[in-house]
Subunit: 366 residues, 2 copies
């Protein structure tokens, strides 16, 4: 496989994505939001959730699986809370709108929470807490997703990779930002290993027989037919703490579906009983906490900064010379990518050329 990389500037790619979304009918402002969220992922080095997913979004928009216009509605509201029906619009547009709503509520009352149903894939979970951080708030974001992870003592893809994202401002050059699946890994990383023809870490995935699987191609095939499942953080056993990852994943599923009478588990597969593609009906939960309601923001920033620096300073594991805090590696990656551009492998390049031609954008082949 040809894995030679070329590099494209973030601004070029962001512009390309904006044009692509607009060309399939997404209004300009919404197209800007989508491109901004996707490029944020690439800038942070999270290839699985950035421009690499553009073709998927464009395909789904063209098929009508995702609505190009946002007709989401607040179906219930109180001073600090709202329930929103996404009405099958673009998850990124809905997520952006709902996190803003949570932030507004927190600005007025100290806390804000918004539960969303009938949304679609909303890009990187970590984008939404960053919106809160920009308002000197703590932000949290949760989403469910199609079945991939087995409960402890099971072997079936049941829960989504159900990420938790938590962001907070600091007195450093970058915020604290935790953004991670409640499974050890996610499908995107296995796809990357498959493209690179590398084995999968022993302990990420089990087969129907409970035994670990390590061949990336085999895993991707078996996931499709439910003969393999990802494992929650902590792995397959209670001794290893797997029930904790499973429990956290369940919490994310509750927040993302039970409060909004939304879809959960198997109903999120994206296929009906006949194997036809269906609406995704993903659920999200957004939370904002206004720090000034607790203490002056500068004090908070100093407190958290001191904590993070203490964590980095402790005795190192043999052979390791640094301890990181959440969001630190991604911040450093962003500096590099802004300098050298976003790495584009040959698969992605052909996707982009395909979109370019299909939508007659004229950005790659004039």
């Amino acid at each position: 496989m040809n894995n030679q990389l070329i590099y494209k500037s973030p601004s070029f790619l962001q512009h390309f994505m904006e044009k692509s979304f607009q060309k399939v009918g997404v209004p300009e402002k919404d197209a800007q939001i989508c491109a901004e969220i996707l490029i944020t992922s690439d800038l942070r080095g999270i290839e699985s959730h950035g421009i690499g997913r553009l073709r998927m979004y464009i395909d789904r928009l063209r098929k009508g699986l995702i609505e190009v216009t946002n007709t989401s509605k607040i179906v219930k509201e109180s001073p600090t809370t709202a329930v929103v029906d996404g009405n099958h619009g673009i998850g990124m547009v809905i997520g952006h709108q709902c996190m803003n709503l949570a932030i507004q509520k927190a600005q007025e009352f100290g806390l804000g929470a918004v539960a969303v149903r009938n949304s679609t894939h909303f890009g990187i979970d970590g984008y939404y807490p960053l919106m809160a951080v920009n308002h000197n708030m703590i932000g949290m974001s949760f989403t469910n997703a199609r079945p991939a992870v087995t409960p402890t003592f099971g072997t079936l893809p049941t829960l989504g990779t159900n990420p938790i994202a938590f962001g907070a401002p600091t007195d450093e050059d970058f915020p604290f930002l935790y953004d991670a699946a409640t499974s050890i890994t996610q499908r995107g990383k296995i796809e990357v290993l498959n493209r690179k023809e590398k084995p999968v870490f022993d302990g990420w995935v089990i087969g129907e027989d409970g035994k670990p699987l390590v061949d990336a191609g085999e895993i991707l095939d078996k996931l499709m037919v439910k003969e393999a499942a990802l494992l929650p953080i902590g792995g397959a056993s209670e001794e290893g703490g797997g029930h904790k990852g499973y429990g956290l994943s369940t919490i994310v599923e509750i927040l993302s579906s039970s409060l909004q009478s939304g879809t959960f588990l198997f109903a999120l597969s994206g296929f009906d009983a006949q194997g036809n593609e269906t609406r995704y009906r993903v659920g999200h939960f957004f939370f904002a906490l206004n720090i000034e309601n607790f203490l002056p923001i500068e004090n908070f920033k100093k407190n958290i900064g001191a904590l993070l620096r203490d964590l980095r300073s402790v005795r190192k594991y043999p052979g390791k010379d640094r301890i990181y805090t959440a969001g630190e590696k991604e911040f450093e990656t962003e500096q590099i990518i802004r300098e050298q551009g976003v790495p584009i492998n040959s698969n992605l390049l052909s996707d982009l050329k395909y979109i370019d031609k299909l939508l007659e954008l004229g950005e790659f082949e004039p």
Copy 2:
């Protein structure tokens, strides 16, 4: 070692604890709260946080490390939020009061959050979400604790076992209740294995050299002198997802200290530079969400119940015949313990007899 068990009724033990707390000067109502929280732990089968800790609380109260009277104060308040200074009172009394405050705020405004500093050990984290569940709310509770867990790529006890607790009502006989350390295990379990002379699971603990330790006695000694550290959920490596457990532990530490300018990490050791015992200055964070602000409570209960039953129903791991949801095992344990009594081993029995004699309670030896 004599590990013969005797069984005592929960009501006898609760009464014994109430009397003990009162005898050292704790007001009657506060003594009732302490006894109620501790016996809840024993009823759920969590021996490490119940009556087994009574002697520790009594010792600390008698030494003045914990104040017998609760003089905690709200230092900042808004419609949905409060910051409380615990003023070194009993963590259980402070926790009970602060979770109630969060619940009141959620009743009025939909959400409530209370950050606490200068508290002390507050028993099982899971008790506080149960208070919210009794008001048809989702409850969450977090606390920091003395250094025990290393950050990823470190080997030093730095973070506490920093638990996350999350509770929600269901349409079943028992609520969903997640209550777990963000480390794979905690000191209490290693103490239990030490008493039983059993090895520790390979992967729970590493030494200064980064290698796993499995001898319980050696681990307990080395933890004291910082030559061993517990590992976060996911273990020592990023491949295994250890950075996720570490990140979650950091989130708990932020919520438990940064919002209230509280103490964190090494300052929670309980000892000063000269090795003298000091105040604990633990921090907590309580959160309540009023479900009726999102949807009718009966709908929520049905939604979450259906989700939990789906989780239990999936294909089982070879050799396993049940999948559990969080709080289910503990509910079943409670039925058994209410029937047969709380198991008391010989160590605990001599602790109770010691307290009985010291405080002249006359419950064991009239």
